[in-house]
């Protein structure tokens, strides 16, 4: 008769233990995982791990944030594999061009539906970066940090060329490039023919890549304004006023080295150029100005990262709490000090005090446009790169090249 009593005692013990652990579980912490691609010795990850996350965890004691840094060049591959194996984390700091692709795969949560008070956050951020999260009627993320390209130049070189200031219009670009060439300097250096490189010029000339609903490229990419914009650059190149790294980035003198050696004066680049110059070329000076304006104004291209929530996350509420925190003024300001340009409109008040060049970036981002938000963007970009290069290399006219490209892009946008 001892055994049944023993068993009863054991059972009671087990039940008690079970209750105790479940009670503990209810009071225990939720851990959310956040993937990012900051470099491991950079200031961003230090800010995140030593300032921002501790502040968040203090304000939310039942949530722990686990930050996983992944090498930037490999983040996309890791995301894709994680999709295939259903191993995504709760939150990801994703490059903006991947968001439509991930949304199309069905792995992201539509924030405009799943996030309470979404509207208050979406209206607080710049419209250009916000648009990068849009896919098939929903917003699948919110911007986290942004950047754009402005005219970045060396004032000392300009002075030695006898020019008073950077070009503000297309006409000035052309005349100044000719002037610079006479003295053996390339005024403007560009290192590729992809969307990131060429779209600012197309848009500033009043052209477009596609129609407003992103479904067709023919008539837009090969329309007269777009063709004229590319033609202007091709003319500069053919006149020997632009270096050949636009079609030969691998073997030639890079933009930074070129500017430092006073062989080039300017390029279009994001805020990191200033940080790199101050640390690697302390003797050089760098200044910023708006992209030269054409008939369409001074319109640049949006870059940056969005923060997205995955569908398979099991702690969506906690993850959204962290997401909101990252979009708050505190976190945005901390990251701004680490070189990440904030996405909230209210940053216009305090951003230039952190770095003066941010003032120009803020002005530029107000009108900057996103690249076409579509899952096939990488392929579209490859088409642009390859076909526009043919115009520069002279094997096709600009019109032919853009006709080809538009036709192929139509197929990809279907």
């Amino acid at each position: 008769m001892r055994t049944p009593r023993l068993m009863l005692a054991l059972a009671a013990l087990l039940v008690a233990a079970g209750l105790a652990t479940s009670a503990a579980a209810q009071g225990s912490k939720t851990t959310i995982t956040f993937w990012d691609a900051y470099s491991s010795d950079g200031p961003e990850v230090k800010q995140l791990e030593t300032v921002i996350i501790p502040a968040f965890e203090k304000a939310n004691p039942d949530i722990t944030v686990k930050d996983v840094t992944i090498p930037y060049n490999d983040l996309h591959q890791k995301l894709i594999t994680a999709v295939a194996g259903a191993q995504l984390p709760d939150l990801v700091r994703s490059d903006i061009i991947w968001v439509p692709e991930l949304a199309n795969l069905g792995v992201l949560a539509p924030l405009d539906k799943d996030m309470p008070a979404f509207k208050s956050y979406s209206s607080a951020v710049f419209p250009g970066p916000l648009a990068t999260n849009y896919w098939k009627g929903h917003y699948y993320g919110l911007p986290l940090d942004t950047n754009t390209r402005i005219w970045v130049y060396d004032p000392a070189t300009l002075k030695s060329l006898g020019l008073s200031g950077p070009p503000q219009t297309f006409a000035q670009l052309e005349s100044m490039s000719a002037e610079a060439k006479k003295q053996g300097v390339y005024l403007y250096a560009e290192s590729g023919t992809g969307g990131w490189n060429i779209l600012p010029w197309i848009w500033s000339n009043g052209g477009r890549l596609t129609n407003a609903s992103y479904t067709k490229a023919t008539g837009y990419l090969n329309g007269p304004k777009s063709v004229a914009a590319v033609q202007m650059l091709v003319n500069l190149y053919k006149a020997g006023e632009m270096p050949n790294i636009i079609v030969n980035a691998n073997g030639g003198l890079g933009t930074y080295d070129g500017i430092n050696q006073h062989k080039y004066d300017a390029t279009l680049d994001g805020p990191w150029a200033f940080a790199i110059f101050s640390s690697s070329y302390p003797k050089a000076t760098l200044a910023g100005s708006l992209v030269p304006a054409g008939p369409g104004g001074s319109v640049s291209v949006v870059g940056g990262e969005d923060i997205v929530l995955t569908q398979q996350s099991r702690h969506k509420a906690a993850a959204l709490t962290f997401l909101r925190f990252m979009l708050g003024t505190f976190a945005q300001r901390q990251m701004a000090e680490a070189g990440q340009m904030p996405v909230i409109k209210s940053s216009e008040g305090w951003l230039p005090s952190i770095h003066p060049y941010y003032a120009t970036y803020l002005k530029q981002i107000a009108t900057a446009r996103p690249r076409t938000p579509t899952p096939k963007w990488t392929q579209i970009d490859q088409v642009l790169t390859n076909d526009i290069a043919k115009a520069f290399q002279g094997s096709e006219t600009v019109q032919q090249a853009l006709d080809d490209a538009a036709h192929k892009i139509d197929g990809l946008l279907q």
Binding site: S40, D41, G270, A275, I276
Partner: protein, 281 residues
Amino acid sequence: MVVGNRRQRRALLGARMLLLSAGVVVLLVPFVYMLATSFKPNTMVLEIPLKFFPRHPTAANYIQAWTSNQFGRYFLNSLIVATATTTAAVLLSAMMAFAFARFRFPGRGLLFGLVLIALMVPTMMMLIPQFLLARHLMLLNSLSGLIVFYTGGNLALNTFLLRSFFQDIPFELEEAMVVDGASSWTRFWRLILPLSRPGLATAAIFTFLASWDEFTWALTIINDPGKYTLPIAIALFQGQHATSWGLVFAASAVAIAPVLILFAIFQRQFVAGITSGAVKA
């Protein structure tokens, strides 16, 4: 192989060393540049034209690389994984190679053919199927997951390599043992393995290097920064817009050290005299 008279030998030796030294110079240029840059102050851009020697050498990159994040931990992880993989892979491959080289059994051709074919399939395409498999086996996010798949991945090459070496060992030596009634394991352990030390050393060196340097699989299955391996650590020094090359080079130089040490130790196995004299008329 030293034969011939004294003067001939001296001249031959001189010629050898001259040729070898010329080769070394060519081979070492990039490595010297890497070392030199690692001792320069950290920069995000490399100067053109290449400058080979730092004006103000500093060890700051090495210090920063080692103390950044959990570099020591990553180093240890790589060491554990590579050592375990090498031991397991060489042992299992030697056993398989022994079976292929010394036994006749039905299916031998087919099975060896499968080993060969596996060598020819690009590993990248297996990434997702292997990932799904690792998930089923609950090996994700673990060093064991690395060890298991690295071992599996090195079996084909090592088996092929060791089979060639085993085939070179004349059977006469084993014949005596077989006649004496020795078990296969005894033949394997007491005769074949000792006789094929150069081959085993080669397999060990290659396997260690392959698992020490492996990046893609480690990146794919590890989600816990504490379990990262060295190649990931080095890749993390590369940023989106700029890379700290001084740090990358310093970290890469540190990463080379264990492999070189292992090589220096194991290459002593490449010494003649093991089988000489054993084969007589």
